[in-house]
Amino acid sequence: MARRGRILRYFSYALLLAVAALAVFALELDLRVRNEFEGRRFALPARIYARPLELHAGLRIPQADVEDELRDLGYRDVQRDDQAGWFQRKGDELDIAVRPFIFWDGAQPARRVRVAFAEGRITELRDAEGKELPLARLEPLPIGGIYPAGNEDRVLVRLGDVPKHLVDALIATEDRKFFSHMGFDPRALVRAAASIFSGRMQGGSTITQQLVKNFFLTPERTLRRKFTELVMAVLLEAHYGKHEILETYLNEIYLGQDRDRAIHGIGLGAQFYFGKEAKDLTLAESALLIAMVKGPAVYDPRRHAPRALERRNFVLRETKDQGFVTLEQYTVARASPLGVSPRPVMGTSPYPAFVQLVHRQLRRDYDEKDLRSEGLRIFTSFDPRAQGAAERALAKRIAQYDKERRFGQPGLEGAVVVTDTQSGEVQALVGGRDARYRGYNRAVDATRPVGSLLKPAIYLTALSEPARYTLITPIDDGPFLWKSRGAPDWEPQNYDKKFHGMVPLRTALAQSYNAATARLGTEIGVDKVLANVKKLGVERELRPFASTLLGAAEMSPLEVAQMYQTIAAGGFRSPLRAIREVTTQEGRPLARYPLKVEQAFAPEPIVLITSALQGVVREGTAQSLKSFLPAEIAAAGKTGTTDEQRDAWFAGFTGDRLAVVWLGYDDNRAARLSGAAAALPVWGDLMAALVPEPLALAQPDGIEQVWIDPQTNLRGDSQCAGALELPFAQGSAPRERSPCATVAGAVVDTVDTTVKKAKSWWERVFGR
């Protein structure tokens, strides 16, 4: 009797222990379920947008470029009066149904606009009634994001925004008893268990179980895992309502892969496969998305269309068989094609170099964690047209050089930076020969010797003292020896290995004479020059040696761009920036990065150096630009070639854009590169594709334009042989007249000046 009692006691202890263990297990799972469920709902990537294209009468943009932008935005060329997001081409006109969008400065509603083009510009902009519109802003193109772990991307939807037929299709196919079970379906489980024996493993998982499955990182399919998932599903149902679970499921399901970007949730799925919002999905489209739940790679409609179609139709059939849709609806849906939109492969971003710059600038103001989870909307100055032109130009030339082997072995690398001359906004960034590669961003991180690119700083310093130096001051391009205690003797050579004697200052820059420049630099003082380099916006400390003047200094293409930016902006320095505004996910404004200017130089020396840089293009080392741009553009620029031709640079600007191009090898090998031969064609191609604005020199009060007779370096007139009209600081131009100057010449020039002044007044008052 006693023994039986003892066995019973031990048995009940064991049972108690087992129950306790189970309880602890369950509690642990419970905590886990709640943590995961709460946490999962909020990790949204930050979305990065390009600049919005602002249409207005007078804008210089070819019609084809606007159409490209619309297509990239996912606009279809099918007119749908009840929806936005389409455009129709009618000859030289575009009829656009612009989508609504929440900008930093508020919500912009959907609207219809009619745009007329002629000769590469917009001539008219009207609304649907035909009334003239001053401005029409398109929504900005998304160009990338900052993603949470695993590069998961999603667009959140509320259950209320999801079409009923999508939910119906889901229930019908994946979990018929969703609304009645408590997390798992016993009968489905039994069926699944049986199926192991029959050889055809069926899922048997409810929607809740599938959701729980996503909480785990590793896809184990053991019995123990299945049991854990089951318990967790029950716990989930205990804590959260059916609608919450369903909504989370719809935002969580994995629907495919876009290179390195994982597509999660039907909100993003609708965008990715159909270019529309989830609430606009048709029955057939919803069925396709549900069909992919079972296996988005296997049933990828773009890669395995017949298989996807078959499964979609299976889903449709189930939906009909369970009474969610009528026979008629089913028939119509079944007959429709897959309807998947052609979508360019984007990955996390097709523009990794620019996105990296944005990310870096954001890290200064935002927590990394917040950037990856709060769904911030980042509005940038990115210009897809400028980027496209830069990428194509670089790729084309590198491919050509690789083939020709004119410049060392194949495998040449490069970088391009494009900015707006007046605002310092970065419009395009190419980080390497493969623009899509997300890795080493040479535009921002490759510091290379800049060679002659630093010379304009020397000449700018000289020209700031007009009593000593003007554009025509003769300087000595003779052999130059720099002796300095503790440093080896320095005797710079010219590119053509010749010395040219006394040359006008502007010629020494145009031809990039090293001897003359070194002498000039040391005469003025290396410290003065470096101080100006700093004022131009270069923050890096440069070594105060004479050799720095000829470009032993190392900088990145972005830093070079900053330096030339200050010149292009008339002496006003603006820090290069890529971000304009940041809002929350809902569109509430968070931050704005305003335009900042600082007057670093008086306008007069800037006008002089700009004129000298135009000389580089007109008659100097960048002459070959003639074959890319018409003379009226009057671009300014500087070629740069470094020691043993390891680097080829070109930095230059037109009226509206500035660009810096670098070419070289990552391992720094000697490459026989020359700035003019290798980098300039990239710059030329890129600018020519963007229809540049002519560069017009400013005319500040302290500058006068004077005709010079180059034979005598004296004041002449336009009728002198080889005469040049050059800017001078007031009072610094030669007073003495050259013998070639005549009265008739003086009259002609006076009339000319008057006509010019009248024309510019006319233009100011009456417009073009």
Binding site: D420, L595, A698, G767
Partner: protein, 133 residues
């Protein structure tokens, strides 16, 4: 077009010289025709609209929005001195005196011979300097 105007103008000048009693002497000093008084540049419709809304926002104290509209306008007409001046005024109102001064200087660089505009820029610069003291 330039050379034709030039030739006609020269012809007219010579004729004018013949018409009046010619006085022997050295060549007359070149006469500079000062441009007529400033009437205001004609802004494009787009920019005019943005400028107007910026002014309204600034008057209502919505300064960041005003600045944003002006920057949008500057992307369309970067050489318009009135836009830069308006931006300088907004910076002044925002208390960013360093930027107010620089932006007014930027406006001056495009102002040409417009003395009224320049004078206004000078006032903004002086206000900014005074505020910083």
């Amino acid at each position: 077009m330039g050379t034709r105007i030039r030739s006609i103008a020269i012809l007219l000048l010579l004729l004018a010289g013949c018409a009046t009693a010619p006085e022997p002497g050295p060549a007359p000093a070149p006469v500079e025709q000062a441009p007529p008084p400033y009437l205001g540049p004609r802004e494009s419709v787009a920019v005019a609209g943005l400028l107007e809304s910026a002014r309204a926002d600034a008057a209502a104290g919505r300064l960041p929005t005003a600045a944003a509209s002006l920057e949008r306008a500057l992307r369309i007409e970067p050489r318009n001195p009135r836009l830069w001046q308006e931006l300088a005024r907004v910076r002044l109102q925002q208390g960013d005196y360093a930027q107010a001064e620089s932006t007014a200087a930027r406006s001056n660089s495009w102002a040409g011979s417009d003395s009224a505009l320049r004078a206004e820029n000078q006032r903004i610069i002086e206000d900014a300097r005074a505020a910083r003291r």
